[in-house]
């Protein structure tokens, strides 16, 4: 029996050491500092190639001292994985993050390293207003690579002309007329894919609500001064209800996803597509005649907001692990300073990505990109899911879907959100 005990103990030890063996190999014995960067650059998109090329160049220039390793995880799983790993305190050295409310929990969990020591690198280059998307309580946690405008309207010029609209409608009433005219001609007015329930909120409500309430509404409501039951906010939600009742969307909009709806638009089956600046690339690639595609800002809704504004947020930020120190920290800083340089922004602009710095544009750049880029100059309105708490985002996402199928009224959703807003602060 004694033998058995020894054996059991041995097995147990073996097992435990096997479990604990996952720790990083210390890079101390070699001179190369290795840094791992997590991201969601899995798709074959031009901007991801730009990112990867710049990292390759950095590795080349720092051969023998620093090596950056890229690990890509598909987008839909990325954030869940990041949060789960963060909960287990097993984050890599560097990782892609999203701005606003989405980095808040990571900051509160103290897993991010502030970049204030190297912030002057970008002083005067990137506007304060965009940098602050990645800042919490005066500390900067990432540098934006691009601006993600979330509310643009793409349209087929010829289809609109056939419906009697040479120019894109400037007001909501005109837009409704356009929708009716298109329906009369049996053309799907707007291609929408809301299965994943975020587009109606991120693309539609972010800007529509801003037109009605102004940009101060969201922060002040979240801090307890305003209320979601505000008449203007309810009116914004009502727009979604009206559009659904007008049959403005393709019939299957609640059962197809966002990318599928873009195919519907590209094929010319639908006249319009409301999406963010992320759609520029796929649309340029997907449609036959680029010159036939126009891009317009959301119309005016006669509310209190500034009609020049468009909802948008910084994107493409890479944050550092709070546990970095010494050589690794230095290397990571060096990497960020190199990565967010002119080369990146020029490369991105060439791939039709809206960037936060001024870059020269030549004639080879497509018209819709130039126009979209111009809209950012009117100022950015907050994006709802980058500002709301996760609970509220979930609630408005689901609520908007319910509104489209008549399961809920705008007023009910507003009441529900306000109730959660008050409870959440307790």
């Amino acid at each position: 029996m004694k033998k058995l005990g020894v054996l059991v103990l041995g097995l147990l030890l073996l097992f435990l050491t096997a479990c604990g063996g996952g720790e990083e190999k210390t890079s101390g014995d070699s001179k190369v500092t290795e840094l791992t960067v997590w991201n969601d650059w899995t798709e074959n998109r031009p901007e991801y190639k730009v990112y990867k090329d710049i990292i390759a160049k950095f590795n080349e220039e720092n051969k023998g001292s620093i090596h950056v390793k890229i690990e890509s995880i598909p987008h839909d799983q990325y954030e869940t994985k990041l949060r789960t790993q963060a909960a287990g305190k097993q984050l890599p050295d560097m990782f892609r993050v999203w701005p606003g409310a989405r980095i808040q929990p990571l900051v509160e969990g103290k897993v991010l390293l502030p970049l204030n020591d190297i912030l002057d690198t970008w002083e005067g280059k990137i506007p304060e207003g965009i940098l602050k998307d990645y800042a919490v309580d005066g500390k900067q946690y990432a540098i934006p690579a691009n601006i993600s405008e979330t509310s643009l309207i793409y349209y087929h010029k010829d289809v609109l002309a056939k419906a009697g609209f040479e120019e894109f409608p400037k007001t909501y009433d005109e837009l409704k007329d356009l929708i009716k005219a298109l329906n009369d001609q049996k053309v799907t007015p707007i291609a929408l894919g809301n299965k994943a329930i975020w587009p109606l909120q991120s693309v539609y409500i972010s800007t529509i609500a801003d037109r009605f309430t102004g940009s101060e509404f969201l922060p002040s409501t979240l801090s307890g001064k305003g209320s979601f039951t505000d008449e203007n906010f309810v009116k914004a939600l009502t727009v979604v209800e009206e559009l659904a009742k007008l049959k403005a969307f393709n019939e299957d909009f609640n059962t197809i996803d966002e990318a599928q709806s873009r195919t519907l638009f590209n094929s010319g089956e639908a006249a319009m597509h409301f999406a963010g600046s992320w759609a520029i690339g796929p649309i340029l690639e997907g449609v036959e005649n680029i010159d036939n595609i126009g891009v317009a800002p959301f119309p005016s809704f006669g509310g209190e907001g500034d009609t020049a504004k468009i909802s948008g947020a910084a994107g493409g930020g890479i944050a550092l692990n709070a546990e970095l120190s010494g050589k690794k920290k230095e290397a990571a800083f060096k990497f960020l300073q190199f990565f967010y340089g002119d080369e990146l922004y020029q490369g991105l602009a060439k791939s039709n990505i809206v960037v936060p710095v001024q870059v020269e544009m030549d004639d080879s750049i497509p018209e819709i990109y130039k126009t979209a880029n111009g809209f950012a100059q009117g100022g950015l309105a907050p994006v709802y899911d980058a500002t709301l708490t996760p609970e509220l985002t979930d609630m408005i996402n689901n609520g908007l879907q319910s509104i489209t199928i008549g399961e809920k009224t705008p007023k009910e959703l507003a009441d529900e959100m306000q109730k959660e807003n008050e409870q959440g602060k307790k």
């Binding site: 058995l4 097995l11 299965k195 996760p390 689901n398």
Partner: protein, 291 residues
Amino acid sequence: MQLTGKSKAALIIGLLPAFLIYTVFAIYPIIQSFYYSFMEWDGFSEMEFIGLQNFENLFQDPLFWNSVGNNIFVVIASVFGQIPIALFIALLLNRKIKGLKIFRTIGFLPVVLSTVVISLTWSLIYNTKDGMINEILRAVGLDFLAQNWLGDTKWSMVAVCITVIWQFVGLYLIIFLAALQNIPEEVMEAAKMDGASEWVTTWKITIPMIWDTIIVAIILCISGSLRTFDLIYVMTHGGPSHSTDVMALYMFNETFSNLQYGYGSAISVFIFFFSLILIGIVKKVLGQKFI
């Protein structure tokens, strides 16, 4: 079987690795989620002990009860869909017919397919605009029967359940076929000599003889349906308007999208006991001998 001291030791050593792995990867996490379920925790910050607050919130959460209701619907649809259909086909196939192997393979095929593939394919079939079902209905002039299968709260749950049934019929079909082939030939022969009709033979002999297998299949079916997640996650995301939300999906969303690890653990604990009790009841009810 008698075990001498020596072979007992060998037995323990043999089982130990499996037992250890099972403890670390199955039992320990279950205990851990019991622990988390008493905490307020977003996954990053300090945990805070809040006693039974999570469960109190859970029992007052209408969306949670909605997901429980939907889940029971899936369980009922699976048990009364999968088992009878599988049994019926198995009885048909359990005779010397040509091409038995082909039919068996076809029946089993959906079980081998990846759930994501199944979900995406069925989403296309159900599509309201150009899906197969609506196209056929329209082609034969039954336009009024065409529905927005996945986009309408009236139909979404039914549509999802049909897919669930389709996916798993094959699994139970194989289980039943195996059981049927184990029925001794003599018993059947004796029945025939006594002049029992096919109908009587099936009800009085075949089914009672595989009753234990049927019970196992029902239990597998219930526990499988209680865990159902992937298919619905891909097909509808629980939508529209929570009409196809099930417990596991609700738990996943609360935990990982809303960052409420404590609350999510409380839901897991609830699912754990709910399943245990349900299966206990089923075993009690069906445990009695047939006839």
